[in-house]
């Protein structure tokens, strides 16, 4: 004698379900659910999905559509979407490194730039390197979502050498902070 017969149990359950419902009934309930769906809050996962910004070409700025990921001494390097000034990569420093003798500013303006390789947006802190004369090499002036003085953290014209021993501007770096 078989103690456990899943086939038979499954069949019974389905038959009971089929006997208590109709195709029209299911369609009607589904319809109600569809109509009512916007009224109820969605599951957190669904909401996170819905809140994701549009990354299609139609949603990318001109800079994001033409950015590259290989040469950080060029103005169209992807992290530089809102940089203004000399690139420290051309001045003896690196993308997050000040040239010798310069001092990184602890505060900065920020940008949100899209990496064309993974299609994701990242928060970039543009930290000025300070305390040396203006480098004046590889000058860039990119303006994605760059705004005016009353939103200073998004303005790239300010000399951001605050909290450094000298406020002389030398060059700018683009430090990756994290996913936007």
């Amino acid at each position: 004698m078989r103690k456990f017969d899943p086939d038979s149990m499954g069949e019974k359950m389905l038959r009971r379900f089929a006997g208590g419902t109709s195709r029209r009934g299911i369609l009607a309930r589904l319809g109600v659910a569809l109509v009512a769906a916007p009224v109820f809050p969605l599951l957190p996962v669904s909401r996170a999905e819905a809140a994701k910004p549009d990354r299609s070409p139609e949603a990318k700025t001109l800079f994001a559509r033409t950015a590259q990921t290989t040469d950080d001494t060029k103005c169209n390097y992807w992290r530089y979407c809102a940089i203004d000034g000399s690139l420290c990569t051309c001045c003896g420093g690196g993308v997050h490194t000040c040239p010798p003798g310069a001092e990184p500013s602890p505060v900065s303006w920020v940008g949100t730039c899209m990496n064309p390789e993974d299609g994701k947006a990242y928060l970039i802190a543009y930290r000025d390197c300070c305390g040396k004369a203006y480098c004046a090499k590889c000058d860039c002036n990119n303006t994605d979502r760059e705004t005016q003085l009353y939103v200073p953290q998004l303005n790239n014209d300010v000399i951001w050498c605050f909290g450094t021993s000298s406020m002389e501007y030398h060059c700018s770096t683009a430090v990756l902070v994290g996913a936007a």
């Binding site: 001109l62 203006y134 000298s166």
Partner: protein, 388 residues
């Protein structure tokens, strides 16, 4: 160094020999009068004059006469300084920063007074800090009567210094979180644009400053108002433009009123500026994208074609907008994609455009004829004398 000194001395000897030889040959036709060094002076500022900052690398603000295209003199403005003109015409005020050892040592911020005829330092008033940015017209503004100066400071907390110009005294520092870009507010104090899209108004008369805010009327992050807006003293109005091309007019008072915006593109018979990617529109742009001729209420705007977030791009055209009629009455192509524009307040105004490659052009605003092209003139911002 040594070789250079020898070379210089030889050159002087050679020049002296040439000079004497020339004198000898002309001795019978002109008497030789020994000369003494002297110094030129200027008249009070004239409405045909324009003041051009030489930019981010080189200090100095050059004074040109747009009637002749001639350089008249230079106000001493270090890099990142701001300048304001006394409405009575007696002083140029410079808001500036020095360190005791060049760019290091003890920081000193001050407003320095220069007399307009001799361009000599008359006085200086120390103050606690100022923003270092350059290229902005509204970080150092004067009250309409010319008696008070307001200086914006970012350290990086946001505040405003008040300086009594008549008494040559620092008065106070007023904290103003989240706001910048100052507008004179006659009889009240000053106003400023804020990050929540409102206008703050600071009443400075009482013992404590009273700060009120308008309802938000623009988006400071999606469609910001350009910092370098224009102010009309006679009408007590700030004429402002956003990145997409919306024009707002704020009439100052204890509670400033802000007009419903209109689109400069619609005023030219086309659709509004569209901020969506891949959409090409005409947009205003540049460091100093607009200039107001107060008497006629005509706004001259540097416009370029492109996608959104190109607000620093120079103009390929100048659009002349009649503010009262809300109509673009003229569109004219310009060379070199200038990113700064100003207009003299004369009855027959002249436009000054420039900014890139340090080439400045002076145009007749009626005929649009180019009157002068000045090389190595500096970049921006430009200032003109507003009729008192």
């Amino acid at each position: 160094m040594k070789f250079a000194a020898i070379g210089k001395r030889s050159a002087i000897v050679a020049a002296a020999a040439l000079c004497c030889a020339a004198s000898v040959t002309r001795a019978d036709t002109a008497s030789v009068q020994p000369e003494e060094s002297d110094v030129n002076s200027l008249t009070m500022p004239k409405p045909s004059w324009v003041y051009i900052s030489r930019g981010f690398v080189m200090g100095g603000t050059s004074i040109y006469d747009t009637a002749t295209g001639k350089l008249l003199g230079q106000v001493e403005t270090p890099v990142l300084a701001d300048m304001a003109i006394d409405p009575a015409g007696k002083f140029y005020y410079v808001s500036e920063t020095y360190w005791t050892k060049g760019w290091r040592g003890t920081r000193q911020d001050m407003v320095t007074f220069y007399d307009t005829t001799g361009l000599k330092v008359q006085s200086e008033v120390a103050m606690p800090g100022r923003i270092l940015i350059g290229g902005r017209k509204n970080n150092f503004i004067l009250s309409d009567d010319g008696k008070t100066a307001y200086i914006y400071n970012l350290n990086p907390a946001s505040s405003v210094n008040v300086v009594d110009l008549a008494k040559r005294k620092f008065v106070k520092n007023i904290e103003l979180p989240g706001c910048a870009s100052l507008v004179p507010n006659p009889g009240v104090g000053f106003s400023a644009l804020c990050s929540d899209g409102s206008m703050a108004t600071v009443s400075t008369g009482g013992s404590k400053p009273d700060i009120t805010r308008s309802a938000p009327f623009f988006s400071a992050t999606d469609d910001p108002i350009f910092d370098n807006f224009a102010y009309d003293k006679a009408k007590k109005q700030a004429v402002m433009m956003t990145y997409t091309g919306l024009v707002y007019i704020a009439t100052m008072g204890p509670k400033p009123t802000i007009s419903a915006p209109f689109s400069i593109q619609e005023a030219a018979g086309m659709r509004k500026g569209d901020p969506k990617p891949l959409e090409i529109s005409w947009f205003p742009g540049g460091g100093q994208p607009l200039a107001l001729h107060r008497a006629t209420g005509h706004l001259y705007v540097l416009m370029h074609m492109g996608e959104y977030w190109t607000h620093k791009a120079g103009g390929s055209e100048i659009w002349e907008l009649d503010l009262a009629a809300k109509k673009v009455v003229k569109r004219v192509q310009v060379e070199d994609e200038p990113n700064a524009i100003e207009v003299t307040q004369e009855a027959a105004p002249k436009l000054i455009v420039g900014g890139t490659e340090e080439v400045v052009r002076i145009l007749d605003a009626k005929t649009w004829e180019e009157k002068f092209k000045i090389e190595k003139a500096g970049s921006s911002p430009f200032a003109v004398v507003e009729a008192p």
